[in-house]
């Protein structure tokens, strides 16, 4: 289970252990944590012989050491790893803990994960660009290795031997004689003075050949709570005296309220307040349902503002092809994608508790420190008085980079003088997203020669907000480039696999060949079926090839099988890599096959999952994921499954029907 200590836990922990170290540091806002310890006087630990029972460790769990920001070790041998990026299903917390535990030589079962609130001392906390692990890999390894060195040094002092002659086994330091051993818990229980914890000397990092945690499939730590319904997402939190709010929003962006029936809303049992907020009218109540009923009762009337009358068709007219600066020996085509919603199952929400001297916020954020800045600007409180907690997130796919719901909740809490839970309804979430931009991507390549097509992005001026959506430009870029490569292959009378192998680099070739071999490229398919391939390096770092097998029946496209090959450097958690590829493929299939977002009279038309459809269970293809073994640095996996799937399917549809589809969603 991943936890974050709450105020209540803090009181509990303080009462129970007199320690509460972690919490003191985070919640009292003492600024950057310094290595510290709560151990008592130093004593000599009793050595344990080989084979002696080391679990449960007979230690003192209230004794702790914190060798660095990421690691806390207690006297029972428990290891607490601080996860500074947001967990939203992509497995980053488990991966962070795995890397630290590997270098610390910890027993995996002894590792506990705590979620960090916003804290500049932890460095960048933006969870985006699939970069959490690639950007933190060295720092986390060093954190684990340094903690291990503290324990080795403590044991060596106890035994009066050279630290370098000692080694570790999981959770244990072993004497040079190979007989005597001290568990990490025993060492911490015995007390390690502050000055011995500030170790700068870090042993050489583990040889990757010795890895026993990194590279091993590990279940996500939160999964047992997920299946018991025990995970507390933002919207599941309750604070004493908390109010429930819902906001009636102008259907257009930039409109304003003209009138509403305050009395009718207040007449709904349970509704206590009605307040105008930016872009709408908030109804505050004793519980969610009353807030929603009160919102209905407002019957708000809107001035739609300058967007009234705008349609997506009109916006699309702004997508004008430029004339490619190429001669007649070039081939060029344009590929279109519509607006797309993030549509995470957990809608936007926030809980805010603003006091005169401090403010706490809970929100599904991918940018803890950015949210902290935003709240600080509203409340004018000092940074350390603004605590941003990130509960487990119900998927966000980029949506969590935008603060939106938080200022609303903060302002309401400020106004009411009480904690507020603001839930966006599905309708709010769908119609007030920051959408993947409607765009056109023009791909161009010489008709002959071995060149990868160049791709230009053509954007219309978008009157509706746009933002980062899982894989951002990589999704349309791959659709354009990989479709055009297929068109080139057709023009040249070549096998599209062959052409790709001729024009790509070595890493690309490896995943393309692997996917081709595993899929049985060239093997006969049933009549009416087609096979298509696409390759993309999302953010230029992770190489993914996907091969789709589809059938087309009366205009209905059905994807039966997808074979995916990925090279993401060193694999921290192979099961996460597979899960992210499976999930990315489903996300990309929704974009390839289901209708996007449209605008009519200045407002988003779609409002729920009945008109913004996600790929359902019975359209799930069989997905196989093959991982290229690699000892290169880890690159990233969260978004990388998405981009190749739309072009792979479009190319397969061409293979099946001879019809080239150049806009998404694919419609015959």
């Amino acid at each position: 289970m991943t936890t974050e200590m709450t105020r209540r836990d803090f009181i509990k922990a303080t009462t129970l252990t007199g320690g509460g170290l972690l919490v003191t540091f985070y919640l009292a806002g003492c600024g950057p944590a310094t290595p510290t310890t709560t151990t008592g006087p130093r004593t000599t630990p009793a050595a344990t012989g080989p084979g002696a029972a080391v679990t449960p460790d007979p230690g003192d769990p209230s004794a702790t050491i914190r060798p660095n920001l990421f690691v806390l070790i207690d006297g029972s041998g428990g290891i607490t790893v601080t996860a500074s990026r947001s967990e939203m299903g992509q497995g980053v917390h488990t991966a962070i803990a795995m890397i630290v535990a590997e270098e610390l030589d910890a027993e995996w079962d002894q590792v506990r994960i705590v979620r960090a609130p916003a804290d500049r001392a932890l460095g960048d906390q933006v969870t985006g660009g699939s970069a959490s692990i690639s950007s933190m890999y060295d720092r986390l390894r060093r954190a684990g290795a340094a903690a291990r060195q503290v324990l080795i040094d403590a044991a060596a002092r106890t035994w009066a031997v050279e630290p370098d002659a000692c080694r570790t086994e999981p959770g244990i330091v072993v004497h040079p004689d190979g007989e005597l051993r001290l568990t990490y818990g025993q060492l911490v229980s015995a007390g390690i003075p502050d000055e011995d914890i500030r170790v700068n000397r870090v042993e050489p990092w583990k040889d990757p050949a010795q890895f026993r945690i990194i590279g091993t499939p590990m279940p996500l730590r939160d999964a047992p709570d997920h299946v018991r319904g025990a995970t507390l997402y933002t919207n599941d939190l309750t604070l004493p005296g908390m109010r429930y709010a819902a906001i009636a929003r102008c259907p257009t962006f930039g409109g304003r309220v003209l009138g509403y029936d305050r009395a009718a809303a207040l007449a709904v049992p349970g509704v206590t307040d009605v307040a105008e907020v930016d872009g709408g009218v908030a109804v505050v109540a004793d519980h969610t349902w009353a807030a929603l009923q009160g919102r209905e009762a407002l019957a708000a009337v809107w001035d739609l503002g300058s967007l009234a009358g705008v349609t997506s068709e009109e916006i699309r007219q702004g997508l004008v092809d430029s004339t490619p600066a190429v001669g007649t020996d070039s081939i060029s085509a344009s590929y279109d994608i519509p607006y797309l919603a993030h549509a995470a199952l957990e809608p936007m929400c926030a809980v805010a508790d603003v006091r005169s001297d401090r403010c706490e916020v809970w929100a599904p954020s991918q940018d803890a420190q950015g949210f902290q800045t935003a709240v600080q600007q509203i409340t004018r409180l000092p940074r350390e008085a603004v605590v941003i907690h990130i509960p487990p997130i119900g998927g966000k796919f980029g949506r969590g980079l935008y603060v939106d719901a938080v200022p609303e909740a903060v302002l309401l809490s400020l106004q009411l003088g009480a904690p507020v839970k603001l839930m966006w309804t599905r309708d709010d979430d769908m119609r007030h997203d920051r959408y993947h931009a409607m765009s056109r991507y023009q791909a161009t390549a010489p008709a002959s020669g071995l060149e990868v097509p160049r791709v230009r992005e053509i954007l219309a001026t978008s009157p509706i907000p746009t933002g980062s959506w899982r894989s951002v430009r990589n999704h349309p870029t791959a659709f354009a480039r990989e479709s055009l490569i297929d068109e080139l292959a057709v023009a040249r009378g070549m096998d599209p696999l062959r052409l790709r192998l001729d024009i790509v680099g070595v890493e690309a070739r490896r995943v393309i060949e692997l996917a081709a071999a595993e899929s049985g490229w060239g093997d006969p398919l049933p009549t009416g079926w087609g096979r298509g391939i696409a390759y993309h390096a999302t953010f230029g770092v992770t190489h993914v090839a996907e091969i789709a097998e589809v059938s087309v029946d009366g205009g209905r496209i059905r994807v039966h099988r997808v074979v995916c090959a990925i090279d993401c450097g060193t694999v921290v958690n192979p099961d996460t890599v597979r899960a992210q590829m499976e999930g990315g493929i489903v996300f990309g299939l929704t974009a390839a096959l289901k209708d996007g977002i449209t605008v009519s009279d200045g407002a988003v038309v779609q409002s729920n999952f009945d008109d913004y459809r996600l790929l359902p269970f019975d359209e799930m293809p069989e997905v196989e994921v093959h991982i290229v073994p690699s000892s290169a640095r880890p690159t990233g996996v969260g978004e990388m499954g998405v981009p190749p799937i739309a072009p792979a399917v479009a190319n397969a549809v061409f293979d099946a029907t001879g019809v080239r589809l150049r806009s998404l969603p694919l419609r015959l």
Binding site: A223, V227, H287, W289, E346, L614
Partner: protein
């Protein structure tokens, strides 16, 4: 406010709830059973699925006074999280963000209670209305098959 008698996870409860209030909000806001999730509020995502008299029901779309049988929520599916469906979910590492999973688990548990050995078509029919944006469907199918194979 009318009083409504309910049996939730084996316990009799009386709640004062406005007429028409969906069971979902009674569970979440009055009884603190937050495992049941809001996803759409109109019966199309399945995140809010509970059992009423053993059948999968979307709690966002049933008014609390219309509930006629005992209710089981994800918290009451098993004493220790060890229902065969929950165990199968863990064995197949189904979950990603986890938000849809209580609804997935409750829907699958109701399916297996009614059809202990469902074929693929029966699994499709039961599960296709329960959405997962993280895309865990392949593993959900494997987990249901695993749970169905348990003697």
């Amino acid at each position: 406010m009318p009083s409504v008698r309910l049996n939730i996870n084996g316990e009799d409860q009386v709640v004062d709830a406005p007429a028409g209030m969906p069971l979902l909000w009674v569970l979440r806001d009055f009884l603190g059973l937050t495992g049941t999730k809001y996803g759409c509020g109109i019966g199309v995502c399945g995140s809010c699925t509970v059992h009423v008299a053993g059948r999968a029901v979307r709690s966002c779309s049933i008014a609390v006074e219309k509930v006629t049988g005992p209710v089981t929520t994800i918290e009451g599916l098993s004493a220790n999280g060890d229902h065969p469906v929950q165990l199968a979910w863990l064995a197949e590492n189904v979950s990603q963000c986890g938000y849809c999973q209580p609804g997935q688990v409750m829907t699958a548990a109701a399916l297996l209670a009614a059809h202990p050995r469902p074929d693929d078509a029966a699994i499709d029919a039961a599960m296709s209305g329960v959405l997962c944006r993280c895309g865990t469907y392949q593993r959900i199918r494997l987990a249901i098959q695993r749970a169905a194979d348990r003697p």
